[in-house]
C-alpha cells in the first residue's frame, strides 16, 4: 500500500541578504528618519536571495528519504518549511499526518532544571503530551544512560550526557512523519551508532522520514531514495545508489563538475579529492578523535604549472573563515600531486566544516574547489556544558586555582 503523505508544489523561500546578520534597532530607524524623512516609508534596498526555489516533491507513506547537498543548498530551509517553522514565499504543500522536527538536539533544555524536568520540558516542546512522556519515561532514561543523574540539574552534566538525554527524548517521538536535520553529526561515534540504530528501528515501523545528512554512509544505510539539492533547487532525485554515486563522483572527479557553478577552470589542473589520511579510518571525512590529523588534497595536473600559488581555507557551517594559508612558487609536473596538511590537532567544536582550496598560476585562477564531502568533527566537547557558551575553539584546558599567599594548589 502506498499513498502520499507529503505533496509539495513549487516551494520557494526568499530571504533578504543580510536579514540574518545583525538586528535592526529602533535607533537606526529613527536616525534614518531624521536624515531623510521620506525614505522610511520605502522598503530598504537590499538584495533578495532564493534559499529555496521551485521545489516540488511527493513523499509516500513509509518512505525514508535522504536529502543531500552542500552547505547552503537549501536542505534545512526545506525542512523548516515542511514543518511550518517558516512560511514559503511561493508554492504550497499538503502534509498528511503528524510531523515532528529534529533540527537540533536539546531544543528547549534549561541548565537550571534537572534531567527529569528537562525531559518533560523538551518532550513537550517536541510535541509529546505529558502522559506520553510519563509512559515512556523509563525507556527514555534507560536509552540515555544517565539514570544516576536524572535528578541532578542539567548544568552539572557533561556535554556528552546532555546530548544523550536530549537524543533519548527525541528518539522516542512517534509522529507519522519525522524531519531530521544533521543531528547525528554531533556526539561521539559510539553514540552516533546507537542513534542510527534507533533511526533504523523507527523507519522499520512504517514511519516516513526525511533525513538530512552529510554522511553518505548514514544515507546509504537508511534511505531508499535521495533528493539532491543544489543552489536551492532539486538537482536530482532517485534511488539512493544511483544519486549518491553521481553525487560523489560529481564532487570528486573532474568530469562531474556540472553542478560546481562557481568553479572556473582552464583545465590545467583540478582538485579532485580530499580526505583525512591520518588517522586512517573508513569515514575519510570524519574527525572522530582529537589529536594530530593529516588532511590530503589530490590535485590532477594536466599541463605543468610553474610558479603556482596555492591557497587553502577552512569555513564553518555559517561560511565564516576559520583558518587559511597560502603557498607560493609551486612547480607542479603533469600527474597527480598530493597536498598533505598536518595539524597537531583540529580544535573545533563538533559540527560540519568546508575546505576550500585554490590554485593560481601566472595567468590567474587555475582551479577553486569547495571540498566535498564536508568535514565532520565528531570529537568530544571540552567546553562549557551550556551550548550558548560553547565557542568555535574546542581545546582541552586545565584550570589551576591558587591562593597567592599560600602555596596550596587546587587543580580542577
Amino acid at each position: 500500500m502506498s499513498s502520499t503523505v507529503i505533496r509539495a508544489e513549487g516551494l520557494g523561500k526568499q530571504y533578504r541578504v543580510g536579514e540574518r546578520e545583525g538586528y535592526l534597532a529602533l535607533r537606526d530607524i529613527l536616525m534614518r528618519a531624521l536624515r531623510s524623512p521620506l525614505k522610511v516609508f520605502r522598503p530598504a534596498q537590499s538584495e533578495l536571495m532564493w534559499a529555496l526555489r521551485d521545489v516540488s516533491l511527493q513523499v509516500e507513506h513509509g518512505e525514508v528519504i535522504g536529502i543531500i547537498g552542500r552547505n547552503g543548498s537549501g536542505k534545512t530551509t526545506l525542512l523548516k518549511i515542511l514543518s511550518r517553522i517558516t512560511r514559503p514565499t511561493t508554492g504550497s504543500a499538503e502534509v498528511y499526518g503528524s510531523v515532528r522536527t529534529l533540527l537540533e538536539v536539546g531544543t528547549g533544555f534549561h541548565p537550571e532544571l534537572t534531567g527529569r524536568e528537562n525531559m518533560y520540558l523538551s518532550g513537550a516542546i517536541l510535541g509529546m503530551s505529558r502522559r506520553e512522556i510519563e509512559r515512556k519515561f523509563d525507556t527514555i532514561v534507560a536509552f540515555s544512560g544517565v539514570e544516576r543523574f536524572i535528578d541532578t540539574p542539567l548544568k552539572h552534566y557533561s556535554t556528552g550526557m546532555q546530548m544523550r538525554l536530549a537524543f533519548a527524548v527525541a528518539a522516542h517521538l512517534e509522529p507519522d512523519i519525522l524531519l531530521v536535520d544533521e543531528v547525528l553529526a554531533v556526539g561521539d561515534l559510539e553514540f552516533q551508532k546507537k542513534c542510527l540504530g534507533k533511526m533504523e528501528e523507527v523507519s522499520g515501523s512504517g514511519r516516513t522520514i526525511l533525513f538530512v545528512s552529510h554522511q553518505m554512509n548514514q544515507i546509504r544505510r537508511l534511505c531508499k531514495r535521495v533528493l539532491w539539492l543544489e543552489g536551492g533547487e532539486i538537482y536530482k532525485s532517485g534511488p539512493t545508489a544511483a544519486v549518491l554515486g553521481e553525487y560523489e563522483s560529481a564532487m570528486t572527479t573532474p568530469n562531474g563538475n556540472a553542478v560546481r557553478r562557481a568553479r572556473q577552470v582552464n583545465a590545467k589542473a583540478r582538485f579532485v579529492r580530499w580526505r583525512i589520511v591520518e588517522p586512517a579510518s573508513k569515514q575519510e571525512n570524519v574527525v572522530a578523535v582529537s589529536g594530530s590529523i593529516t588532511v590530503q588534497f589530490s590535485l590532477e595536473v594536466y599541463t605543468s604549472v610553474q610558479r603556482g600559488h596555492h591557497g587553502i581555507a577552512l569555513f564553518d557551517n555559517d561560511g565564516q573563515l576559520l583558518w587559511g594559508r597560502a603557498a607560493e612558487n609551486l612547480d607542479l609536473p603533469i600527474g597527480v600531486t598530493e597536498l598533505a596538511y598536518s595539524f597537531p590537532m583540529m580544535p573545533l567544536r563538533p559540527g560540519v566544516y568546508t575546505w576550500r582550496v585554490t590554485l593560481y598560476d601566472e595567468n590567474g585562477l587555475v582551479d577553486r574547489w569547495d571540498g566535498v564531502p564536508e568535514m565532520i568533527i565528531a570529537t568530544e566537547n571540552y567546553q562549557h556544558s551550556r551550548d550558548e557558551w560553547c565557542g568555535i575553539l574546542n581545546v582541552p584546558s586545565r584550570l589551576d586555582v591558587r591562593q597567592s599567599d599560600s602555596h596550596r594548589v587546587n587543580r580542577l
Binding site: 529602533l26 499526518g97 510531523v99 516542546i125
Partner: protein, 304 residues
C-alpha cells in the same frame, strides 16, 4: 496559511492516536485529508484558536518552567513576590502618604497603596516577561513549530502565581488594620481578567516588535514608569478633574487598579464608566495585538 482540517486527530492528543513503538508493527495508515496545508502568508487574520488549544500541554510546561526557574534562580524564592510590592508600598506610604498627604479614600495608606501595587506589580512583570519571551526562546522558535502566541501567553500566565503569593501579604495587612473584605471581592476575578488581557494585548505587540527591534527592551523600564504615573497607583483617580476622567480611563490599568481597590476594600465608588472605557480599550489593544502578532508570526523565525 497553515490550517488543520477539522476532523483530523490533533497534535496534542497524539498519545490517543495509535501509538506505535518499535515493538508494534506499523504506523497509522495515512490520512485521507491533509493534516495541514502550507502556503505563503496571506489574509488579515487566520488565527487558529483550536490549534492553540491543542498545544495547551506545551503552554502548561512553559508556565511551569518559568515559575520553576524563577524560584530556583533567586535566593529567597517566593518571598521575592512579597518583598517587591511590600517595599514599594512602604516607600509610597511614607512619601506620597505621610509627607505629601495624598487623599486615600479613607483607607490607611498601606492598604490604599498595596491594593494598587498588587495588580500593578503583576502587570509590569508580566509585560516585561512577555516582551522578552520571543527573543529569549529564539532557539526554540527557530527549531520547532508551535503556535507562537503560546509564548507571550505563558509569560503572562506565569506571573499569576507571584500575584497569588503577594495577595497573602495583603490578607495579613487587612488583619492588621482590622478591615473586613466586602462582598465586592467576588468581582475581583473580572478585574484580574482585565489585567491579564491588557498585559497580553500589549505583550503581543511588544514581543513581536522586540523580535525585530532589539532595543524595545531598553525602552521598557521607561515606558513602565511613565505608565505607572499615568495610572492611579500613587494617587486616587478622584484627583483627576472630572472633565479629563474619560481620557484617564483610556488607560486600561486605570480600570484595573480602581477596580482592585474597590473590590478588595469596598471603599470608594464602583468604577462604572471608567471601567467600561478601560474594557473597551483593552479589547481593542488585545485584538489589534493578535492581528499584528499573527502577521509577524509568519516571519518571526526568519528574523529573530
Amino acid at each position: 496559511m497553515t490550517e488543520k482540517s477539522e476532523d483530523m486527530p490533533q497534535v496534542a492528543t497524539v498519545d490517543s492516536a495509535p501509538s506505535v513503538g518499535a515493538s508494534l508493527p506499523a504506523s497509522a495508515p495515512p490520512l485521507q485529508q491533509p493534516f495541514y496545508r502550507i502556503a505563503p502568508p496571506e489574509g488579515f487574520l487566520d488565527l487558529n484558536l483550536r490549534e492553540v488549544w491543542d498545544y495547551k500541554g506545551l503552554l502548561y510546561f512553559l508556565v511551569w518552567r518559568d515559575i520553576k526557574i524563577r524560584y530556583k534562580q533567586t535566593a529567597i524564592g517566593a518571598a521575592w513576590a512579597i518583598i517587591q510590592p511590600f517595599m514599594t508600598m512602604v516607600v509610597f506610604s511614607l512619601f506620597f502618604g505621610k509627607l505629601a498627604r495624598m487623599p486615600s479614600e479613607g483607607l490607611p495608606y498601606p492598604i490604599f497603596y498595596y491594593t494598587a501595587l498588587l495588580p500593578w506589580t503583576y502587570f509590569s512583570g508580566a509585560l516585561q516577561n512577555a516582551t522578552n519571551t520571543i527573543v529569549e526562546n529564539q532557539r526554540v522558535v527557530t527549531k520547532v513549530y508551535f503556535p507562537r502566541v503560546i509564548l507571550p501567553l505563558s509569560a503572562v500566565l506565569s506571573g499569576l502565581l507571584d500575584l497569588g503569593i503577594s495577595f497573602l501579604m495583603f490578607i495579613v495587612l487587612m488583619l492588621y488594620y482590622r478591615i473586613h473584605f466586602a462582598w465586592t471581592i467576588l468581582l475581583l476575578p473580572s478585574f484580574l481578567l482585565l489585567a491579564v488581557a491588557t498585559a497580553l494585548g500589549v505583550g503581543l505587540w511588544l514581543s513581536a516588535l522586540n523580535a525585530i527591534y532589539r532595543d524595545v527592551r531598553y525602552v521598557m523600564p521607561f515606558l513602565l514608569q511613565l505608565w505607572m504615573f499615568a495610572s492611579p497607583v500613587a494617587y486616587p483617580s478622584s484627583l483627576v478633574p472630572e472633565r479629563w476622567r474619560w481620557l484617564f480611563g483610556l488607560n486600561p490599568m486605570t480600570g484595573v487598579i480602581e477596580g482592585f481597590r474597590w473590590a478588595l476594600t469596598g471603599h470608594g465608588k464602583p468604577p462604572g464608566g471608567l471601567l467600561l472605557a478601560s474594557m473597551g480599550i483593552a479589547a481593542v489593544i488585545f485584538c489589534a495585538g493578535l492581528v499584528y502578532f499573527q502577521k509577524m508570526e509568519t516571519t518571526i523565525a526568519d528574523v529573530v
